[in-house]
Symmetry: C3
């Protein structure tokens, strides 16, 4: 039991740091697209990558949040932000908005998948019920992107984009159902993240949308 | 004493769920007005209805927040969102913005009233002082609307609208003063909510405004 | 040891109330600039002045936050808001935007400096590590301004402005290093706040910027 909990903590940490990295890339890409300077790009990386996890930790009572206690979160954000800032290959002014559209979407989808799963697992580890764990997973996944988009005055992706929150909730549900069936956490985490990521990318590709009121 | 506390919890729950329902309607109406798809409308319903209560619960240390622990909050949000999405009678593109103005305002005023009172009562139940309870009541009432408006890039109602925060603080004050005078919580809750709702509607109707700096 | 902790609490309180006052002025100035009415101006004062400290207190687990528990924070906000609303000397419509630019920037820089230092000291008092204290100091300093700007749909200063977050982190670092070297908290607080304030003002004056990606 003890070792299982330690293993669970490791799984959450790996998923969390992975999600942090890709969400930081999505924040950096948005910052570059909006022509922020280096520090603005880094701030947006950090916010995009840590806001969802900090909401999760505050809501489940795990304060101070992991992103503040554990310096590796910040290091991962800074590395991701610096890497994209200095290494991105888009030099011409004209096509940059278009060129950065796809990276933002793909990084964002990967972060969504990893955080949905990490959020649900951490909520379960804090003894929240199954529905609560799914909701916390969804909030962890969409939270960072919402704050990222609001900061640059864009309507957040979650409000209009294809199957965004649904994909996150689906990924979190896989983890919670897997736990109820006593499947190993690492397997269900991979399955849940894969489901969320694939769902989201197919939805973008095919332009799947729910109906609007007219 | 024990039964009184249980009764207080019931009063807070009823007010909370009522406020959740009407704020969810306000969020859904705003989402429909902004032509979000079904899921965007539901997200905006949930956010408008739960953000204020979650801020309250985080600030008074009641984590995880009621809106996450108790599945009825979410069910109420989804029902309100679905109902307005499918049943609203405004089919023509042209007049929808105008037609939905009044429902958003009325639902919002009702949610303001119920949450101001519920927030103040819950803060008192968590042994906060009278001034703190009034402030927490005000924040509970305006919080959801602020997040709702910010998410669709509108300046929040509380910053420019007629007696918005004042009405919420007035409603919360009735509850706190009533508690100090040992009046029953349910009676003062009804009185406080009525005062807030009526104040706000009259202020909208008459266009009551405070002076601007010029 | 006991008296040292009491002295530290006093230092944090004085810095906090000072930062509250100047950030409230920055919020009021922005509200007047955006032609909000009296209550909107007061709401913006309160939000600008208390949001950073409330984030800090929620993240370090010091709930309810000082700004809610201690009525002096609110009184300071209201006084600052009323004073600027009624006493500001800018009567002509035309030049007001320009005239209020500098006060917003200077008040904001002073608040940044005081909150960076107060945030780091409070985090240390809650036994967070040195890196955590620097981060919490930075977040305390920039948090209120971010919420203030987002509420009126402006891209927050921290994302594009000259050495904004860097100045805050530098001020917080002085406090944390000073504590490690056993310097008295009040001296390092003054030194850290002065460094942050001067860095920020010089950066504005000289237009120091980091490079953008092109």
């Amino acid at each position: 039991m003890e070792t299982q909990l330690a293993w669970l903590r490791t799984v959450v940490l790996v998923l969390d740091l992975g999600g942090t990295f890709v969400f930081a890339l999505s924040g950096a890409a948005l910052g570059i697209k909006r022509k922020l300077d280096l520090f603005g790009v880094l701030v947006l990386s950090v916010v995009a990558a840590t806001a969802g996890g900090m909401m999760r930790d505050v809501l489940i009572g795990a304060t101070p949040p992991a992103a503040i206690l554990d310096y590796r979160y910040l290091v991962v954000c800074i590395i991701a932000g610096l890497a994209l800032f200095f290494l991105h290959p888009f030099r011409g002014q004209a096509q940059i908005r278009d060129r950065l559209r796809t990276p933002v979407l793909v990084f964002d989808a990967a972060g969504l998948a990893l955080f949905a799963v990490a959020g649900a697992l951490k909520a379960l580890a804090f003894h929240l019920g199954p529905l609560q764990a799914v909701l916390i997973g969804g909030l962890t996944a969409v939270g960072g992107g919402v704050v990222r988009d609001v900061l640059v005055s864009e309507v957040p992706t979650v409000l209009y984009s294809e199957l965004y929150a649904i994909a996150a909730l689906a990924g979190a549900t896989v983890v919670v159902v897997g736990r109820a069936l006593n499947f190993p956490s690492d397997t269900t985490a991979v399955a849940g993240a894969a489901l969320c990521f694939v769902l989201r990318l197919i939805a973008i590709r095919r332009g799947w949308r729910l109906p609007t009121a007219w």
